[in-house]
């Protein structure tokens, strides 16, 4: 059909021979980016391993003192897993949109937009919960590095700015204790992850807008699929961050 050919022309860029080639190139490019993301986050995980290796008592004590809210971390895990499901279902709806514009196409596109909006909404719920966690930490002073000023577990800073350890109730100093380092890791790791969530909300809503304009069908959905991959990776990283930060004593 000539109209379908016209559509095909519109979908793939002139430097690709076929739609298939374009789709597989897009996906390979996305995977290259995701692999880079994994290596980038592995630096943060390595920092966690190193600090845990040097200060094992500190990491246990953070959990014993309940300085992170397990209910909030748990809720956020469920929220993020659910958003991963709705994202996967949105990609599935995009795959099901027939090439010919008809009622079925409209139905699947509508469902896809709804699922994308739900995914973005769940991402916002995640961020709101994160906001409450952060504001509590700012309030009590469990903050990174030199900003740390938690009264229940105080640290001693020497005149040159070196933190020598935590102050014990009897006035001595425990040099094996470094809560300010744990909270540096906590804020950098969850902050970087949170930034990815914020970017995720943006790109998911961008997809929803494009779909509303009538874009995407079972042949032409590489953008949806790639944003889906990105969103699952954000979920993947949280799957490791949650037990390491909130649970493991």
């Amino acid at each position: 059909m000539s109209s379908e050919n016209a559509n095909q022309k519109h979908y793939h860029a002139f430097f690709f021979h076929t739609m298939e080639q374009q789709n597989s190139s897009h996906k390979l490019g996305m995977w290259a980016f995701l692999v880079q993301e994994l290596l980038f986050f592995s630096g943060l995980f390595m920092a966690y391993i190193a600090m845990r290796y040097f200060y094992p008592e500190t990491f246990s004590e953070v959990q014993t003192r309940n300085l992170l809210s397990i209910p909030m971390g748990f809720t956020n895990t469920i929220v993020l897993l659910t958003s991963s499901l709705t994202m996967a279902l949105a990609v599935r709806e995009a795959q099901l949109i027939p090439l010919q514009e008809n009622e079925e196409a409209k139905l699947h596109r509508k469902r896809m937009i709804q699922l994308l909006v739900v995914t973005a909404a769940l991402a916002c719920v995640f961020l709101v919960i994160k906001y409450f966690e952060y504001s509590h930490k700012i309030h009590v002073g469990t903050l990174p590095g030199k900003f740390y000023h938690f009264a229940e577990w105080p640290i001693f800073t020497d005149s040159d700015g070196t933190v020598l350890g935590a102050i014990r109730p009897d006035g001595s100093i425990d040099v094996t204790s470094a809560p300010h380092i744990f909270f540096s890791l906590y804020f950098v790791a969850t902050g970087t992850h949170g930034l990815h969530v914020v970017i995720g909300v943006g790109v998911i809503l961008w997809l929803a807008l494009r779909a509303k304009r009538g874009e995407f069908n079972g042949e032409h959905y590489a953008a949806v699929e790639n944003v889906g991959l990105y969103w699952h990776l954000v979920d993947l990283i949280w799957i490791f961050l949650f037990p390491l930060m909130y649970l493991v004593k």
Binding site: E20, N23, S24, K27, L28, W31, V35, L38, L39, S42, F45, M46, I49, A50, Y53, F54, P56, S60, E61, T64, R65, N66, I70, L81, S84, L85, M87, A88, R92, Q95, L96, A151, E152, W153, P154, F156, D158, S159, T162, L164, G165, I167, R168, P169, G171, S172, I173, V175, E225, L229, H232, D235, I239, F240, F242, P243, L244, L247, V248, K249
Partner: protein, 141 residues
């Protein structure tokens, strides 16, 4: 023509819901296990094992790696390979470094500095300080 490429594989809804259900169950498992009070090393191993199973489920089914090209799968596995090199060799380095630090007295040096500050009366015990034993019993309620 449409069946010739892998991108057109549509996963059945039941698969997605089964994977999602397993992920939720595993989340409950990992929180439940952390409440058991296992020794530190064991609890890390269990938590990471559960996280690895969850990550595999997400990568295989949500990220469609099971239907993906060999090229993309290799790329993903290669990143895991390089990550493990990074983690293992850096851990070796740290393991040997702690001996060097012990031998060169890095911790003793810090302890000496801390003791000097205590002796000079620079350490002020702030109000509201909670000993770890008290914090542990308080969290038990």
């Amino acid at each position: 023509m449409g069946h010739s490429h892998s991108e057109h594989h549509v996963t059945p809804l039941s698969t997605y819901f089964t994977v999602f259900g397993s992920l939720i169950v595993l989340t409950f498992v990992t929180v439940g296990v952390s409440e058991l009070g296992l020794p530190s090393t064991l609890s890390i191993i269990v938590a990471m094992a559960v996280a690895l199973v969850k990550a595999t489920l997400v990568a295989t089914w949500f990220m469609h790696l099971i239907h993906d090209t060999k090229l993309n799968i290799s790329l993903f596995l290669a990143s895991l390979w390089f990550m493990s090199i990074f983690f293992i060799f850096t851990t070796f380095d740290m393991a040997s470094r702690s001996n060097v630090m012990k031998m060169s007295g890095t911790f003793e040096f810090r302890q000496d500095r801390a003791d000097a500050n205590v002796a000079a009366g620079n350490v002020v015990v702030p109000e509201g300080i909670v000993a770890i034993e008290d914090a542990a019993s308080a969290s038990g309620h």
